[in-house]
Amino acid sequence: MTATESETPTQSETRPDADTRSDASPGQLDRLPRRGAVLRMSEVRAAEEVASEPLGDENDQTMLMNMGPSHPSTHGVLRLMLELDGETIVRSKPVIGYLHTGMEKTGEQLTYLQGPTNVTRMDYAAPLFNELVFSLAVEELVGIEIPERATWIRMLMTELNRISSHLLFMATNGMDLGAVSMMIYGWREREQVLRFFQKVTGLRMNHNYIRPGGVAADLPDGWRDDVLTLMEMLPPRLEEYDTLMTGQPIWRERLQGVGVLTPEEALALSATGPVLRSTGVAWDLRRDMPYLAFDEVDFDVVVGSYGDSFDRYAIRLNEIRESIRIVNQILDKMPPGDYRAQDAKVTPPPRARIDESMEALIHHFKIFTEGFKVPEGEVYVAVESPRGELGCYLVSDGGPKPYRMHIRGPSFVNLQTMPHMMADSLIADAVAVISSVDPILGEVDR
């Protein structure tokens, strides 16, 4: 199925009572700048907008309200400037930068081997994806092949990470809409996944596990049983979520038809991930530009039909199920072998070799002090993170540190769809919209 075909809903079963969702009329792209969805516009255009704005009478005042940077449901330190007419949002503008830590700049001071430690802190709900995209970019520049087992370990870990990230979304989305118990349930399941991560990488978050050249360590003994336990535990829990939320009338009322985005708008605003897929555009890098070994596993790309918050919720819920499918296939196909490339110039030698070989000791010392040199060039690599296209742009001047590192954070890009989705809706809808975009502010500000 191509992206364009899937834009039309495939199911035709109609429910007469559910006309809360609406079609967007053509020409809506013109509304983007006025709604604040385009952060920069030309001065000519801005002047036109001001001129075309009807002047309201004095009694018809709007209220300006700052939602955030510290607000319970702005997912961290996002600040939204809301222009309110009563409780209706006329216009909104996301203001970012409250979590800016200069990670991209810091990346230029760290060697390629230290890089994953830095990038893993960006999207802290899906740290392994950051490490993955950085490592892939470095490997592309250096031009090394990583062993097959490393590839599959990376797939296993990132798919599990997708599950944990989407579980986090389930938790926060539930809480933002007032289903407070959901928060604990989502956290409970995520905890199990994090426990596995801890066993493999030593840490629950910010693992620094996927590194240029492979992964930091092989999977521990008994990993297969742990993953199987997880995969058995999750599906019934997802059924519980269905009972608690998907089929719940208030839940549907709150999400269906809220924050509607059309495919044209989503593409114009370069949204990716569940935000784009909710509009019916079946764009998933795992399928469309396969990396690792995603072309060897069988999975569905879940898309929505209406581009509303409910679709984004349902997509994430079903992506967990798809990830479970993928993980089960990975369990079957996990090859034996080495977990990192044995290229003495890039990866440190095994500990035992250092005691017997002078060259190994020198390589070890060089790698951990100076770092390895990367040929001159630039590269852009993208992976499908739980939030969308996570890209890494690296420029190397031939030294052991990147000349420039840029991360295309899907949260950051998806953020600009918010003002458009929120316009003409209520404050409660704004909360649902923020939640359904699921931004991670660490990645937005980097």
């Binding site: 199911q11 006309d19 208030i250 409660a428």
Partner: protein, 439 residues
């Protein structure tokens, strides 16, 4: 059933020192009982929600964490009381009391014990005087309840308004709109109860539900006599009136950061908190009184006196509803403001109004006021009245939904949108990595 209501100890028309002492004593006891009940309610809610969410809830303060509320209260009492510089100082300081006092007062009309079996009407002898086990048996008891629950909104509204801050303002606007809408549904569903019980006095209402009804074993509760619908409407409207989830838009932490009490701290915040839980206990007690026969219930054996059985019945029924409120909170997502209004005005108010008319028509037949066939037989007329009324109700429902649809279409059209029918999409469509189509 007599229409002369009021506590028997006041029936002689004179008030002596003993009467005053009795009234004061009852007030103090009720006050203490309510405070303890609130303390336990907070603990109960936290414990039950905790268990429902796979947590333990409070465990540290006292046995089973029972004194957690006390600890929190003491902590809040010693916190700094901050009044925002832009607040209207007088109103800001007054508002918590406006919220707390009605919450206390409502409880006075609740009969919490007493023996209602046989010829007993719940009176007991205390200090040589016959009295009911409630602080006051007002002839207008239920109206008093409605008045107090409306008054309590002033506290919330003024708190939000006087804070001089935007989130509380939104909260207070929501509070006033919500209270007005749901007061109507609350009152209309109440009217059904008053119709069958024939009195506004809470004691009389309980009395009318005593004994057994249909078949000799089904309780004579208003729940059954009024046909369930008023109870359901009352429960929903009552939850909304309490600002409890799923109708807690007034404080909606995820949207307006706590609403009216955002700017409150220390003991003033504690007062709002107290008032809220007091209202919850009182509302559960009102539901029990109106629909579940209050303290009325059978007695077993003679070891426990009859009036104490009343207390046991009352308290068990109360617990069921307190649990229901907590259960709501742990399960349901919050409604949106416009959906709340829709539910109130388009569903609950027409439904309870229609049901009231239906009950009234049936009563007319029962009393023999309508006797079309001149045979005195009531079956035909009852069937006729019910079918006509149901027909009218259905017609009304149809017209209402037509109006709602027309209004929605117009509203969408004004925004340049058209309504479309919607499929049921969990996965609207999906495709495989290998390009083959599934489903």
């Amino acid at each position: 059933m007599t229409l002369a209501v009021g506590d028997p100890y006041l029936a002689d028309g004179t008030v002596d020192f003993g009467d005053v002492l009795l009234a004061a004593g009852k007030a103090v006891v009720a006050f203490a009982v309510l405070l303890v009940a609130v303390m336990l309610m907070v603990w109960f809610e936290r414990k039950v929600v905790g268990r429902l969410q796979n947590r333990l809830g409070p465990t540290v303060a006292g046995p089973f964490g029972l004194f957690q509320t006390l600890a929190d209260g003491i902590k809040l009492f010693f916190k700094e009381d901050i009044i925002p510089s832009r607040a209207d100082r007088f109103v800001f300081q007054l508002a918590p009391y406006l919220s707390l006092v009605p919450a206390f007062l409502t409880f006075t009309i609740i009969p919490i014990a007493g023996d209602f079996n046989g010829e007993n009407d719940g009176r007991v002898t205390m200090f040589g005087r016959e009295t009911f086990l409630q602080v006051a048996d007002l002839p207008v008891g239920i109206l008093f309840f409605l008045a107090m629950s409306s008054l309590a909104v002033y506290g919330i509204m003024l708190a939000g308004w006087s804070s001089g801050s935007k989130y509380p303002l939104l909260g207070s606007i929501r509070a006033s709109a919500q209270a007005i809408s749901y007061e109507a549904a609350l009152g209309l569903s109440l009217a059904s109860v008053l119709l069958v019980s024939g009195s506004l006095s809470t004691n009389e209402i309980v009395n009318s539900q005593a004994g057994s009804g249909f078949g000799g074993f089904v309780p004579n509760w208003n729940l059954i006599v009024t046909g369930f619908v008023p109870f359901v409407v009352f429960l929903i409207a009552g939850t909304a009136e309490l600002n409890r989830p799923p109708f807690d838009l007034v404080e909606a932490e995820q949207e307006i950061v706590g609403g009216y009490h955002t700017e409150y701290s220390s003991i003033r915040f504690a007062m709002f908190f107290l008032a809220e839980f007091m209202n919850t206990v009182t509302m559960a007690a009102i539901i029990v009184t109106l629909f579940f026969g209050g303290p009325a219930g059978p007695t077993f054996g003679s070891i426990i006196p009859g009036w104490l059985w009343g207390f046991i019945w009352f308290f068990s029924k109360l617990l069921v509803f307190l649990f229901t409120f907590v259960w709501f909170r742990a399960t349901l997502p919050r409604l949106r403001y416009d959906q709340l209004m829709d539910l109130g005005w388009k569903l609950l108010i027409p439904l309870s109004l229609g049901w009231l008319l239906l009950l009234a028509a049936i009563r007319l037949v029962r009393n023999g006021r309508i006797d079309l066939l001149d045979d005195g037989g009531l079956v035909a007329e009852t069937a006729l009245v019910i079918s006509v009324s149901v027909g009218i109700l259905l017609l009304g429902a149809f017209l209402l939904s037509m109006a709602a649809t027309a209004a929605r279409t117009e509203r969408l059209a004004s925004r340049g949108l058209t309504a479309v029918a919607v499929s049921d999409p969990v996965v609207a469509s999906s495709s495989r990595a290998d390009g083959k189509e599934v489903e």
